[in-house]
C-alpha cells in the first residue's frame, strides 16, 4: 500500500494538523510515513500545505510531484494542485471555499460543505476533521480508531476534552461523502 496525499488550504484551516493526524495514525499502524509541510511567511494569511506519504515499504523520497489524493480547502490551492492529481486519483474539497470547481474528468471529485457543518457543530476548528473523516471513508488507508489514537498524541493533554467532538466530526465527514451536497455557487 502506498498513498501519496497533499492537503492544502489557508493557514489556520488546520491543514498541517490534518496531515499530521493522518501521519500519526499511520505510525499507530506501524506503517512507514513522511509528512512534509510547506513553511515560511507565506503561511501568514496565505496558503499552507503538507505532503503526506503512508506506505508499507520504506519511503525513499519525501518529495512528490503528483498525488494519489488531494484534500483542498481553498481556491488558490485548487488552482495550484488540481492538475497534479494522478489520473484515477481523488480530489476532495471544501465546497464553501471553492468557486471554480475542477473540470477534470479523469479523477473522482467530491466537494462537501465541511465549514458550514462545522459551524453547525459550533466549532469552526473541526472543519479539517470533517474533511479527514470524508477522506478516510473514500480512502480507508488507516482505521478511524488509529486516528483517535493519533489525536491523543497530536492534541496537548489540556485539549483532550475535544476528543469527543473530533470523533463526531470524523463521523460527520464519513456520512457526508455518502450524500455529498453539491453546492450551487
Amino acid at each position: 500500500m502506498l498513498e501519496e496525499l497533499i492537503v492544502a488550504g489557508f493557514g489556520g484551516q488546520g491543514v498541517l494538523s490534518l496531515g499530521m493526524t493522518l501521519a500519526y495514525a499511520g505510525m499507530v499502524e506501524n506503517k512507514e510515513i513522511s509528512w512534509m509541510p510547506s513553511y515560511g511567511p507565506e503561511m501568514r494569511g496565505g496558503t499552507a500545505n503538507c505532503m503526506v506519504i503512508v506506505s508499507d515499504k520504506k519511503i525513499s523520497s519525501p518529495i512528490i510531484s503528483s498525488f494519489d489524493s488531494a484534500i483542498v480547502l481553498n481556491q488558490p490551492s485548487m488552482d495550484k494542485f488540481e492538475a497534479r492529481i494522478k489520473p484515477g486519483g481523488l480530489l476532495l474539497y471544501e465546497s464553501g471555499n471553492i468557486f471554480k470547481p475542477s473540470t477534470r474528468t479523469d479523477i473522482d471529485i467530491i466537494g462537501i460543505t465541511a465549514t458550514t457543518e462545522a459551524l453547525q457543530m459550533k466549532n469552526a476548528k473541526i472543519m479539517n476533521m470533517i474533511m479527514l473523516g470524508a477522506y478516510l471513508q473514500l480512502k480507508p488507508i488507516v482505521q478511524i480508531d488509529s486516528i483517535l489514537e493519533a489525536l491523543k498524541k497530536v492534541l496537548p493533554e489540556k485539549y483532550h476534552f475535544l476528543l469527543a467532538i473530533n470523533k463526531q466530526a470524523l463521523e460527520k465527514g464519513e456520512m457526508m461523502v455518502h450524500q455529498p451536497k453539491v453546492e450551487i455557487l
Binding site: M20, A23, Y24, M27, E32, I33, S34, W35, M36, P37, Y39, G40, P41, I59, S60, S61, P62, I63, I64, S65, K153
Partner: protein, 356 residues
C-alpha cells in the same frame, strides 16, 4: 525510550542533543531551524542543561568557544546566513582545537535568498568557509533518523579529534516528520583536564585556549599538527552508503535530501531496466574519493545530483581523475527536483552517450 516517535528533523536533532549529554546549547533564531532552539529552550532546563538564546550567531559561536574551552559538550545551530556569520568563530574553534557540534540547516542563497531548502553551502562546509587551513568533519543526514544519529556521532568525533564537527542538513529534512528511534547512548568519559580551562590547581601547569602563535616557527608546528590530524580524519572517517552499485552501469552521486530523491529516481529507473546505482556520501568531509575511483571503470558515467549550481561535483571529478565522465544535475532557488525529473535527466544523458 527506544520506542519510535514521529518528529520533525529539527526536533529529533534537538532531542538527540539532550540524550547525547550536550551540556550547553547556544543559538539564535532563523528559519528553517528555529525549532532546535525552541525545543531545547523547553526541554534542556528539565535536565539542568544550559540553553541560551544569544544576541546573534556571532555571540552563539563564541559562547560555544567558551563552553568547549572549559571542557563542556556544546553545540549551536543555524541556517546559511547565520553560518556565514560564524566563519571567523569556526576558524578560531578549529585553530584552538575545540570539540563542538555545529548544525547548518541549509537554505537557498546567496544573501537572504529564500528560506526553502538548498545545498548551496557545500563548498563553505567542506573546503573551508573561514580563513586559514582547517577542516571540519561534515556529516550529511538524509533522514530524520540520521538527524538524531549524527548528533551522537558528531559529538563523539568532535571529542575524538578535538575538532569542530558540522552537521550539514537542509530545510526539508529539518522540517519534515518521520519516524525516529533514539537508540540508547552513553556519553563516553573524555579526560579534558590537560587542556580545558577549569581553574588551575597547584598540581598542573595552567591551561589556556588559543589559536594565536605569533612566531611563525611556532605557528608552523601548530599547523603541521593540525594537518596530521586532518590526515588521520581522512584515513578513519570516510563514510558513505552504496545502493545497487554491484551491477550499476550508471551512478548517481548525491548527499542528504538529494540522495533520498535520487533513490526514488533509481527505483523508477530500475523498473524501466536502467541499471543505475547510488553512492551517498554520509561524510562529505572526509570524502569517499577512493571508493568513487574504484567504481569509475565500471560505470559509463557518474551523475552528481545537487540542490545547487554544482559544488560536490568537483569532488567527484577529483575522485575519478578523468577515468569516467562526470555529469551534473542541479536545482536552484529552494526548489526541489522530483524523482521523475532526475530520471528524465538520466535517460537524456544515456541517449547522448549512446549517440556518441
Amino acid at each position: 525510550m527506544t520506542e519510535a516517535k514521529l518528529m520533525k528533523g529539527n526536533e529529533a536533532l534537538a532531542e538527540a542533543a539532550i540524550q547525547a549529554g550536550c551540556d550547553a546549547y547556544f543559538g539564535y533564531p532563523i528559519t528553517p531551524q528555529s525549532e532546535v532552539l525552541e525545543y531545547l529552550a523547553r526541554e534542556m532546563p528539565k535536565h539542568n542543561r544550559l540553553v541560551m538564546q544569544a544576541e546573534s550567531e556571532i555571540a552563539s559561536i563564541n559562547m560555544v568557544y567558551g563552553a568547549a574551552g572549559a571542557g563542556f559538550r556544546t553545540m549551536t545551530s543555524s541556517s546559511s546566513p547565520g553560518i556565514s556569520l560564524m566563519q571567523e568563530g569556526i576558524s578560531y574553534l578549529a585553530g584552538a582545537e575545540l570539540p563542538c557540534l555545529i548544525v547548518n540547516v541549509n537554505r537557498a542563497g546567496p544573501g537572504l535568498g529564500t528560506i526553502q531548502p538548498g545545498q548551496g553551502d557545500y563548498f563553505q562546509s567542506v573546503k573551508g568557509g573561514g580563513h586559514g587551513d582547517y577542516k571540519m568533519i561534515v556529516l550529511a543526514p538524509a533522514s530524520v533518523q540520521e538527524m538524531a544519529d549524527f548528533v551522537y556521532l558528531g559529538f563523539d568525533l568532535a571529542d575524538k579529534y578535538r575538532n569542530p564537527v558540522l552537521i550539514l542538513s537542509d530545510g526539508a529534512i529539518g522540517q519534515m516528520m518521520e519516524k525516529v528511534v533514539f537508540n540508547p547512548y552513553t556519553k563516553p568519559v573524555v579526560d579534558k583536564s590537560s587542556w580545558a580551562t577549569t581553574g588551575k590547581p597547584k598540581t598542573r601547569e595552567r591551561n589556556y585556549i588559543t589559536s594565536l602563535f605569533i612566531q611563525p616557527e611556532r605557528m608552523e608546528v601548530h599547523n603541521l599538527k593540525l594537518e596530521e590530524k586532518f590526515k588521520l580524519i581522512r584515513q578513519n572517517e570516510v563514510r558513505f552508503e552504496e545502493i545497487n552499485t554491484a551491477d550499476a552501469e550508471y551512478l548517481f552521486v548525491a548527499y542528504g535530501l538529494s540522495a533520498r530523491i535520487c533513490q526514488k529516481a533509481m527505483d523508477l529507473a530500475r523498473e524501466k531496466g536502467i541499471k543505475v546505482g547510488l553512492l551517498r556520501p554520509i561524510c562529505v568531509y572526509p570524502y569517499p574519493y577512493q571508493r568513487l575511483e574504484e567504481l569509475a571503470p565500471q560505470v559509463k558515467f557518474m551523475l552528481s545530483v545537487e540542490l545547487n549550481s554544482g559544488q560536490m561535483v568537483e569532488d567527484v571529478q577529483l575522485a575519478v581523475k578523468g577515468k569516467v565522465p562526470v555529469e551534473f544535475y542541479g536545482k536552484l532557488g529552494g526548489l526541489l527536483f522530483t524523482p521523475e525529473e532526475i530520471l528524465q535527466q538520466l535517460e537524456k544523458l544515456i541517449q547522448q552517450y549512446h549517440a556518441n
